[in-house]
């Protein structure tokens, strides 16, 4: 099982909170897409011939791709990789792109799952965040996507936004739950460095939500989603039974994936690598037949820490017995000792399965960090 990610580094306009790699200059579009095809070719061996169980078009804004462009990418994918017939093929889409025509094109393509960036059903939030779409478009595209026949649908919401009351959030969430999607994600707003939002906050123009706001809204989120039959299977992700995201799950289960495109990340079990976050440099390197990537070899500590970091965010947690097999009894003994310093009601440990409780989920980052084993911890 392996995943393939393609990064489409273009957006119509920059959302104020966003620090993903994208460019609003569309001139380079052709060259970048050609380079993606070249990279697919160049990296065909990365996954050691494993079949793809998922393909994910992320961004940026993949819904900007034309039928022809998408075709070219699929041709290159199939030429270089073997794709499982039932593979999950997701495309991230922005509501303003999803008119009936585009939805039909997408439905006819191999894409079988849409991830729609709704973010909010409140006009003022969309304005504040500089989103390109209006509330009406958000509602329309969800309805139309179902109508054209997309069964696998997911949508993103953001909570703990500035000026968002608990009631606002409940209303927002409720609006989404009306559509009874098989899956959705909800992220607490992070003020990322080097974003417009960061500057607004620093200049005092925008007052970020407090930790207490975030905590309460997270609790509301879990309560409401669970009562509507969703499983809270990762900190920010909710799925009806059997509807979990295949591709994103591979990130959390430490399965291998190949990332294509500027800023895309790849993982093969013992090393990670990522491409430059710059379209020009990316295109130039590939035109020379080079991969503009930085490689990081993962030490045994890094690997263990990553499994903790991602695993503890999931409803399965991590299995200590399995970690022991993989990393040896000594490190896991250290890990067990570390548990003693945590608050008792943050975690459950049953049959060596370590799972965070509801109150633990509020501190998942802190807990992972505390449990980390650093190379120089050894005496």
């Amino acid at each position: 099982m392996a995943g393939l990610y393609l990064h489409i580094p273009f957006c119509k306009q920059a959302c104020h909170y966003c620090d993903f790699h994208f460019s609003t200059l569309l001139q380079q579009r052709e060259a970048v897409l050609a380079a993606l095809v070249q990279e697919l070719e160049l990296q065909q061996g990365y996954l050691a011939g494993e079949q793809l169980s998922s393909v994910y078009f992320g961004g940026g804004t993949p819904s900007l791709l034309t039928e022809k462009e998408l075709d070219a990418l699929f041709t290159a994918i199939h030429k270089n990789f073997s794709v499982h017939p039932q593979a999950e093929i997701t495309l991230e889409a922005n509501p303003d792109d999803l008119d009936l025509y585009t939805l039909n094109v997408l439905h006819e393509s191999p894409v079988n799952r849409l991830s729609i960036g709704i973010q909010s059903f409140r006009e003022e939030d969309l304005k504040l965040m500089n989103r390109a779409h209006a509330v009406e478009q958000a509602r329309d595209c969800l309805r139309l996507a179902k109508e054209v026949g997309f069964e696998k649908l997911t949508a993103d919401l953001i909570y703990a936004m500035p000026n968002m009351s608990d009631a606002d959030w409940v209303q927002n969430l409720d609006a989404l739950l009306q559509y009874d999607l098989p899956h959705f994600s909800a992220y607490a707003l992070t003020v990322e460095a080097k974003t417009a939002l960061h500057k607004f906050v620093k200049d005092g123009k925008v007052q970020p939500a407090s930790d207490a706001d975030q905590k309460r809204q997270f609790d509301l989120l879990i309560d409401m989603a669970v009562s509507r039959g969703y499983e809270h299977y990762e900190i920010s992700n909710f799925a009806k039974p059997g509807q979990r995201a295949v591709h994103n799950s591979s990130y959390w289960k430490s399965e291998p994936y190949l990332g294509i495109g500027p800023s895309a990340h790849s993982f093969n079990g013992h090393s990670r690598q990522w491409n430059v976050s710059n379209n020009t440099k990316y295109v130039q390197a590939l035109s020379r037949g080079e991969l503009p990537a930085t490689v990081e070899q993962l030490s045994i500590f890094d690997q263990l820490n990553e499994q903790l970091l991602t695993g503890l965010r999931t409803s399965e947690g991590v299995n200590l017995a399995r970690l022991e097999q993989r990393f040896g009894p000594e490190l896991v003994a250290q890990l067990r000792a570390g548990l003693l310093d945590l608050k008792d009601d943050w975690y459950q440990l049953r049959h060596d399965q370590l799972v965070l409780t509801r109150s633990g989920k509020h501190f998942a980052d802190l807990i992972a960090s505390d449990l980390f084993i650093l190379a120089d911890d050894e005496h």
Partner: protein, 595 residues
């Protein structure tokens, strides 16, 4: 001997001493231009970064003037008041000094105090107006300052630029013309003054000396006058870019000796070397044992590293004899060392060297000076640690060291400087205008006050236009009390300090506020209290942690999140658990910066 010239350079930091020294070496072909890595005389990393020549060295140049060959010995002097005794020995080894003044800045406090030292030792002073190439240079006004200060002729002042090399040729000529040759009796018994030493991993201590009388021979048996210890002069020689072994170093010259000494303690700056064959009857005047001025505890962040810390400190002491330490224990921090330093800079240097050279992460406690405490029974004791102060009911009186301090600043900042001095219990003694725009303020104040954030505030209030220098003037009785800091009622002895009664409330409040900023929030409320004896004088609370919420982890970039959480964890490792409260390493010193 008549063709030897020994001189040093007196200059304020950044006035261009190192650059000018480089030029002299270059013009006399002592060093190749290509080898001239900026600033040859400073060779410790730390020094370069701080722009301060911490350890003095010496270098010899050959120079031909009017057909005669001369030997010029440049002896470098440390540029910080913490190392003033070393400066005085370097000065004592010279017959002349270049007074280097930045033409765009003018004279500073450090320059003046070192100049007075030089004049006390009858050095011939050559005033040099440096950085003449700068467009902001203000030669006329600075010349007036120099004339005023030295009483010299305006024509005596040599214009120069270390950067362009302008004036360097004339400067070399004038060094020969104006600075007297050394005097001394070549036939008298050997007397050589040790003005510095360095540690070499392979060869042990290398001591630098200036021969005043007689001569020193390779292989002969020598004695160090003040320690009384005897050694073989395994190797002696002179100092060029590298050490150059010689059979003999003659009267008036400067050289080095290697004699298998392994610890810096045995080589005391100011000591006299004499020969066993025909020993001198007395040492060279002016020997003093340098005494530490500031004391602080140094503790390993990880208690298990105590032995390793001891090893590291032992090694540091091998090449820094002015570092003294003894084991102590603290209820809050466990086992560590009480260390004595020459001053605040010296303390910082030691902490940094421990981290850099020995990879030891340490906690330095609130520093203090050395107090005398006399009990009601009439027993006088030295207190180097606030925790050692006896019960207040048994104390008759406490004395603390005072200093005489000079600040030179722009006239605009007099008000602010005086205010700062007063707030530090200073007593203004004198105020003179050096020029229409520069003022020298002299005052007396407790040494203990400079520990509490004096330099930084002086810099701030004068926008960097103030220089500071001091010397100790003895002990005075003071109304001092010990203030303790408690976290959740547990006293943290490492944060105790001795302070003046009148300032106790204000300081207690500020310290609690500062700690509230510095301590990370934890899973429970933390009460911070300042107390004198059982009496609580200030209190702050840190509310329990809310600030840790789980953030998104989107997409395949797992490295970034892992590194973020690693960093968070490392931050925690630099903290020390006291009771149930974790104190970050930097809190112990940061409490001193109270504004």
């Amino acid at each position: 001997m008549k063709n030897i010239r020994n001189f040093c350079i007196i200059a304020h930091i950044d006035h261009g001493k190192s650059t000018l020294a480089d030029r002299l070496l270059q013009v006399t072909n002592t060093v190749d231009v290509r080898d001239l890595q900026a600033q040859t005389l400073d060779d410790m990393d730390l020094e370069r970064e701080r722009g301060i020549t911490i350890k003095s060295h010496a270098i010899q140049m050959d120079y031909t003037y009017k057909g005669e060959k001369y030997t010029l010995n440049l002896i470098d002097t440390p540029g910080h008041v913490d190392f003033s005794y070393e400066v005085s020995r370097a000065i004592a080894s010279c017959e002349g000094a270049l007074l280097v003044v930045d033409a765009s800045q003018g004279i500073e406090a450090q320059t003046i105090s070192n100049l007075y030292l030089a004049l006390e030792h009858d050095l011939h002073i050559i005033p040099v107006l440096n950085k003449m190439d700068l467009p902001g240079a203000n030669p006329e006004e600075v010349k007036d300052q120099i004339v005023e200060l030295l009483g010299c002729d305006i024509a005596d002042i040599l214009p120069a630029s270390g950067k362009t090399g302008f004036g360097v040729d004339v400067l070399l000529e004038q060094i020969v013309e104006r600075i007297p040759a050394p005097k001394g009796d070549p036939d008298a018994p050997l007397q050589a003054l040790i003005f510095d030493s360095v540690y070499n991993n392979y060869r042990g201590i290398v001591a630098y000396f200036r021969v005043f009388n007689g001569s020193i021979k390779s292989g002969e048996k020598v004695k160090f006058f003040n320690t009384g210890k005897e050694y073989y002069a395994e190797e002696i020689g002179i100092l060029k870019m590298k050490q150059q072994p010689r059979k003999r170093v003659e009267t008036g010259d400067v050289g080095y000796i290697i004699s298998g000494i392994k610890t810096a303690k045995e080589v005391q700056v100011g000591d006299t070397i004499t020969s066993m064959e025909r020993p001198a009857t007395e040492g060279i005047q002016g020997f003093e044992l340098v005494k530490p001025m500031v004391f602080a505890g140094i503790y390993p962040v990880d208690t298990e590293d105590y032995e390793e810390l001891r090893d590291s400190m032992d090694k540091l002491q091998l090449n820094d004899a002015s570092l003294v330490f003894e084991p102590e224990s603290s209820a809050a921090l466990g086992f560590g060392f009480r260390c004595g330093f020459l001053g605040m800079l010296h303390m910082e240097i030691i902490q940094e060297r421990l981290e850099r050279e020995f990879n030891m992460t340490v906690i330095t406690t609130v520093p203090n000076v050395s107090y005398y405490c006399t009990t009601t029974k009439g027993i006088k004791m030295t207190v180097n640690n606030p925790s050692d102060l006896p019960d207040p009911s048994t104390i008759d009186f406490i004395e603390e060291p005072y200093i005489n301090a000079q600040v030179i600043t722009k006239a605009d900042y007099i008000g602010a400087v005086i205010e700062l001095c007063m707030s530090k219990r200073g007593i203004i003694k004198n105020q003179v205008y050096l020029t229409s725009n520069r003022v020298e303020i002299t005052f007396e104040m407790p040494l203990g006050e400079i520990v509490f954030d004096f330099y930084d505030r002086l810099k701030t209030i004068s926008r960097g236009y103030a220089s500071f220098d001091y010397h100790q003037i003895g002990y005075r009785e003071s109304r001092l009390v010990r203030m303790d800091i408690r976290l959740n009622s547990e006293p943290v002895d490492a944060l105790s300090s001795l302070i003046h009664t009148d300032k106790a409330y204000e300081l207690g409040k500020k310290m609690c506020e500062k700690l509230r900023e510095l301590l990370p929030r934890q899973q429970f409320d933390i009460a911070i209290q300042a107390s004198i004896g059982a009496k609580i004088i200030a209190r702050e609370t840190i509310k329990a942690l809310r600030k840790d919420v789980t953030a998104k982890c989107y997409g395949g970039d797992i490295s970034r999140k892992r590194k973020l959480l690693e960093k968070q964890k490392k931050g925690k490792k630099r903290m020390r658990q006291v009771g149930n409260v974790e104190i970050p390493q930097n809190a112990f010193l940061a409490v001193l910066k109270l504004d």
